[in-house]
């Protein structure tokens, strides 16, 4: 008679657990339905709000601050534009236009903010009226020289987007996205862990499993890997849905360039590894805490404690003033959030990221080892 080998047993348990959980409508709703529906719905709502705001912007007169010769300014300041003066970044004017005749050429500089619809409208208006400004300038020069106006040569237009919101938006994304992903990680680990661990006891299948010839360690390994896979799947699905929603929003708003993220593939890969370590830790601790539960209700109660404690650590990592330092690199989960945050704005210190990864892997190893030891005891599963 063949003795079962560890590899095929772990693989069989992993496959069976995945199959079972993915056939559960609750799990599907939780892992796939939520990200696929929630973020696009959120985006749709935001687009509606943005369109209403853009509609308002079209009916409002763009406020221009024009500097340069008065005769050249004239074509720019006709209705619907209003001339005024003030700060662009404070929203007192919508665009600042500087007209500089320099020798044979007319220099035109426009400063605007890409994330304000009214400012975008002001920039469009200036671009449309630039030909008329140049025609006036050429006519004036030709009259002064006593010769006919030369053919028009488009004036060089210099545009400067002075929008602080570009940087601010990136900052907000870097604050919110990592934290949200980690909260998803905590919530996503709860259901499969309870199902895989407590479900075995509640449904009376533990006995069957324990008297099978399968060695216990690979059975436990298969179960932990299944929960890890599902949690990672949920994190990736949520990250994908969030990313796609954000990208679509930016495209609608005028191009992906309006989000000033300093992404680098290396930093993102390192942050991904750290997130993987955090997922392992969440799964290990969740399994350890949920294992003694004798019912689904008890399991969910115990798992919710992990979610709550984890959420506190995640929020610590999300606080605007918290930064990745040699101290915070040792705060589990907060460190993972901070690594991802730093990676998103291109400010990741690799040394600290590796430190956080080493700490998370050590804790994960400890939690999984304790969880595995507890779970492989027959009396644990039998209850």
């Amino acid at each position: 008679m063949n003795r079962p080998r560890s590899g095929p047993v772990a693989l069989a348990v992993w496959g069976k657990e995945l199959k079972e959980i993915l056939r559960d409508s609750h799990a599907l709703t939780y892992i796939i339905g939520f990200p696929v529906l929630f973020y696009p719905l959120l985006m749709w709502g935001l687009v509606q709000v943005a369109q209403v705001k853009a509609g308002h912007a079209r009916t409002e007169s763009p406020r221009l601050e024009v500097s340069g010769p008065a005769t050249l300014s004239q074509p720019l300041i006709g209705a619907p534009a209003i001339t005024t003066s003030g700060s662009l970044t404070a929203g007192e004017v919508d665009a600042q236009v500087a007209l500089r005749p320099e020798g044979d050429r007319l220099g035109v500089e426009v400063r605007y903010q890409s994330t304000r619809a009214r400012s975008e409208r002001a920039r469009e208006l200036v671009t449309q009226r630039l030909g008329e400004v140049e025609r006036v300038w050429l006519t004036e020069r030709a009259a002064a020289a006593g010769r006919p106006p030369p053919p028009m040569d488009p004036a060089p237009l210099s545009e400067e987007n002075v929008d602080p919101a570009r940087r601010m938006l990136a900052y907000i994304v870097s604050l919110a996205l990592p934290g949200m992903l980690h909260l998803v990680m905590l919530l996503a680990a709860l259901y499969p862990t309870v199902d895989v661990v407590v479900g075995e006891r509640v449904r009376g299948t533990a006995e069957t499993l324990l008297v099978s010839g399968a060695p216990r360690s690979p059975v436990v390994l298969g179960k932990l890997l299944a929960v890890l896979s599902l949690t990672l799947g949920a994190v990736v699905a949520n990250a994908g849905a969030m990313g796609a929603t954000l990208a679509h929003l930016l495209i609608l708003q005028g191009g992906a360039g309006s989000l000033d993220l300093g992404l680098s593939p290396g930093a993102l890969a390192l942050a991904g590894l750290v997130c993987l370590g955090a997922t392992g830790l969440v799964v290990g601790v969740m399994t350890l805490v949920v294992t003694p539960a004798r019912s689904f209700k008890e399991g969910q109660g115990a798992g919710n404690l992990v979610v709550t404690a984890g959420a506190v650590l995640v929020v610590v990592g999300m606080l605007p003033l918290t930064e990745l330092t040699p101290v915070t690199a040792f705060v589990p989960l907060a460190n993972s959030v901070l690594v991802l945050r730093s990676a998103l704005i291109g400010e990741l210190a690799p040394g600290l990221a590796w430190l956080a990864l080493a700490e998370l892997l050590a804790l994960t190893w400890l939690a999984l080892r304790l969880a595995g030891r507890t779970l492989s005891r027959p009396d644990t599963l039998l209850g």
Binding site: V13, D24, R203
Partner: protein, 243 residues
Amino acid sequence: MIDVQGLTKRYVHPSTREPFEAVSGLTFSAEPGQVFGLLGPNGAGKTTTLRMLSTLISPDEGRATIAGHDLQGDPAGVRSSIGYLSTTTGLYDRLTARELIAYFGRLQGVEDPRPRTEALLDRLDIRRFADVPCGNLSTGMKQKVSIARAIVHDPPILILDEPTTGLDVLVAQTFLEFIEEARSDGRCVIFSTHIMSEAERLCDRIAVVHQGRLRAVGTLEELRTQTGEHYLERIFISLVDGT
């Protein structure tokens, strides 16, 4: 095939906190092609004995060898040699009958469980609901799938813990036929029951257990001679009342 010597299991009573012996110095043996019955009232120690023999719990004293494997020295070897069934044994509701049988085949080290699974689907007449999730099966169908699950690795020993308790007559009949078939296949079957008619019909040898102790062991004829009673029910009462 099964050799049990002085098997003992102690627990602490949950309410009085007093230690007590759920099974005390049990000794018996069973051979291939034999159905060995553990007969006793509720709380006699039958389930504890079978759980020890299937490595679910460890004995505090005594030893046992199952198909040549020492219970405590080689529990994995014991598990590979047994098929275990009880009425409380659950199935995975979201797996189909076919998937479940194949899954346990893999857990038992069957290299390619598919041919064996297909053969069991035919043998136990479960092919027509082979692709139905176990959660949607009737009790009788579930029991057939349980049987297939227990024998997918072709074990020489079957340990059945009150397999017919709570089942209707027709489903119980399926079990009894399965036990008879296992005996004719040369397997050693050890099963616990408190239903006298089942023991009378099936068992080649019977052990009467009461309050964790073995009261008598032997064939039905030997027990009749020992007690002077004819019917098993009377034999059982005389052995248990002699406490």
